[in-house]
């Protein structure tokens, strides 16, 4: 079985992290974002994954060779020379997605993190016999997104409403699709939107069905949602009683600690924290609701909450970092500094406190 992951462009919403690596390779819960999806696809028997990208293919390809070998799954790139929207890339990768088997193929949006109930989706797709299946998820504020209006009993999609002003439903497009090869015949090789052009066409013919996504869902394409997403993800690990979650007197709630990370005496870690490979957390440190990426050193007595600390950065002694502070790669916060929502680009040293949210270039 095949799959396409829509990776898209520059990942500007996740800057400054994406100034150092392309977005799919930004770590989430100690693993490159895209690896979560590739692993979920591999688990249900997908043999080939095509990444639709239009930015930095060389950097991606290097990493992918690694994953290919480790996971024993074929990974190729389909590179857009001009942005093709959300459907165009499928046309571009047509030859890679269709084979003689006539099996449907998955399409995933790379910014999405969820339970990935792909096996259930295959069952659903077979049972309704339509041309395309999409996952929908329930949200509190549907008007922020595109709402999918469906028939209660069958899940048949009636229509799509983009950012509705009045309430029409609370299910939105979760960015996970299972499509029959015939869908590709509907897509031309030009900038095309799958939600605005392709799906409405299929829905009008009564051949599009929506399945409600069980479990959590988050679009982690921007820092605030990334932090919320980590909470949801770790929560789902807890529900599955995953052994990956850390335990101990110094751990509160759900915490992920890479086995190569070191945590000192007298620390209090959690809830909702991910500590990456090679990190050093010195004694007396408090971490909550934050992500600490590979190679970071948090010095003694520091306190970090609701923030993301980028690769190889350091946070000084007694520093306090909070309120959506995002440190890019190789950022060094000096001792005793306070950062309230500082967004710091790579290779900077913070020598004076940031009292209110500010971008440091």
């Amino acid at each position: 079985m095949k799959a396409l992951i829509l990776v898209g462009g520059f990942g500007t919403r996740l800057r400054p992290l994406t100034l150092s690596v392309p977005k799919p390779l930004v770590d989430f819960a100690n693993k490159p974002m895209i690896l979560h999806q590739i692993e979920a696809l591999k688990a249900i028997g997908v043999t080939e994954v095509v990444l639709a990208i239009n930015y930095q293919p060389e950097v991606m390809l290097n990493f992918l060779k690694d994953f290919e070998a480790k996971l024993e799954i074929k990974i190729t790139c389909s590179q857009e020379t001009e942005p093709l929207g959300t459907a165009g890339p499928l046309a571009l990768a047509r030859d890679k997605l269709i084979d003689k088997s006539g099996e449907p193929f998955f399409v995933l949006n790379s910014d999405v993190i969820s339970e990935y109930p792909l096996r259930e989706m295959i069952e659903f797709h077979k049972s309704h016999g339509g041309e395309a299946s999409i996952m929908v998820t329930k949200v509190d504020e549907p008007s922020k997104y595109g709402v999918v209006v469906t028939e209660e009993s069958t899940g048949k999609v009636e229509r799509f409403v983009e950012k509705p002003k009045l309430f029409v439903g609370n299910k939105i497009n979760a960015g996970i699709y299972l499509l029959n090869p015939s869908v590709l015949d509907r897509i031309q090789l030009r900038p095309t939107s799958i939600e605005k052009e392709v799906f409405p066409e299929i829905a009008a013919e009564g051949k599009l069905y929506a399945m409600v996504l069980p479990g959590f869902w988050m679009d982690i394409g921007q820092p605030r949602d990334y932090i919320t997403g980590l909470r949801l993800y770790l929560d789902s690990l807890r529900k599955k009683a995953s052994p990956k979650l850390a335990a101990g007197t110094h751990i509160i709630g759900n915490v992920l600690v890479d086995e190569t990370a070191k945590i000192g005496e007298g620390c209090l870690i959690g809830p909702d924290v991910a500590i990456g490979p090679g990190c050093v957390v010195e004694p007396g440190v408090r971490l909550s609701r934050c992500t600490v990426m590979r190679g970071v050193r948090i010095k003694k007595h520091a306190c970090i909450s609701s923030s993301i600390i980028g690769w190889h950065s350091t946070v000084g002694q007694w520093a306090r970092v909070e309120n959506m502070t995002i440190l890019g790669e190789d950022v060094h916060v000096c001792d005793e500094i306070y950062s309230n929502g500082g967004v710091v680009l790579p290779h900077k040293e913070i020598k004076s406190s940031i009292l209110k949210p500010e971008i440091v270039m």
Partner: protein, 415 residues
Amino acid sequence: MDSADEKVVVVILVAGPSKGTRFRPLSFNTPEPLFPLAGQPMVHHHISACKKIPNLVQVFLIGYYDEREFALYCSSVSNELKVPVRYLKEDKPHGSAGSLYYFRDRIMEETPSHIFLLNFDVCCNFPLLEMLESHKAYGGIGTLLVIKVSAELASQFGELVADPASQEVLHYTEKPETFVSNLINCGIYVFTPNIFSVIQEVYRLREEKAYTRNLPNYESQQFAIRSLPTDFVRLDQDILSPLAGKKQLYTYETTEFWEQIKSPGMSIKCSALYLSRFRSTSPHLLASGDGNRSASVVGDVYVHPSARVHPTAKIGPNVSISANVRIAPGVRLKNCIVLDDVEIMENAVVVNAIVGWKSSLGRWSRVQADGDYDTKLGITILGESVTVEDEVVVINSIVLPNKVLNLSMQEEIIL
């Protein structure tokens, strides 16, 4: 010494990426020293000034950028200058004096009698020949280019006191808190080769201190607390300051313009200074036009020969337009720098801004700023490949590469 033996080497310190963070977002794909001012890379103005020096044998650019960043520029400018221009890469920053010392063997290869040291981020008219003549007359180890500025401005630089009769440097302090003098160091020097012995002596003294650092005394602790490594030697604080008053250092005062390019916004101010200088040195580089067959030009304007500017556009004063730019009918450009491959569509207005490579400004769009070079957002900067859609207004903002702006904004930094 016979003047035919008096060979001169010019060294330009170009620093590296860590210093370049101050030039973001423009430094993401071009090293700051190669950013164009008045249509030519920043260091090109330094190198062009070198043409005046008789017996110039070599030009070295010393920095810690990757060699690839300077390879193309060095080979093309060597051709133009007919003198080898080479980039020497340091493995790490050594400080201005440390870098000079680090490459002393290369610099002394052709046994020059005089060595110029120029900082890449200064903008001036480079009176190198006059400095050299004065230096020979003074007979010291070094001569610094200096300029008088206002007292409040002076505290941002190195202040020195010079003897009004002999021009000798009597005292030197870097960025003092109290007023010392309104004469500042321009970052342009000429030395005789014995400057290397002076630097060597500083290294030797440090070795001695490091050896005795094991003894727990206050001074050695101070040295250890300082975050600079022992092989980081700064020219101004560590070498020149101690030499003041010893009849070794002299000054040459310039009354022409001088600026330090500390921020992207300053490049507009410096572009204006160089464009104005072109009027006397290279008037053929400046554009002209009256709106009939070519666009109306006001004041000093540079337009790259490959750029296409519609005759109904009005350009200037102080505008630099780089290669392959397309300016549509009815566009107004004022006090701005437009980089390569930009497309500016009908009736757009750009004032006090830098438009990054490959960007595109829509019809009736407006990109402007108040023009205050000293504030962070005083000049609007659009990074590479930024699209401003039709009728959108962008004021006093900085936009990182690859963004599409479809809503107007003021006072924002867009990542």
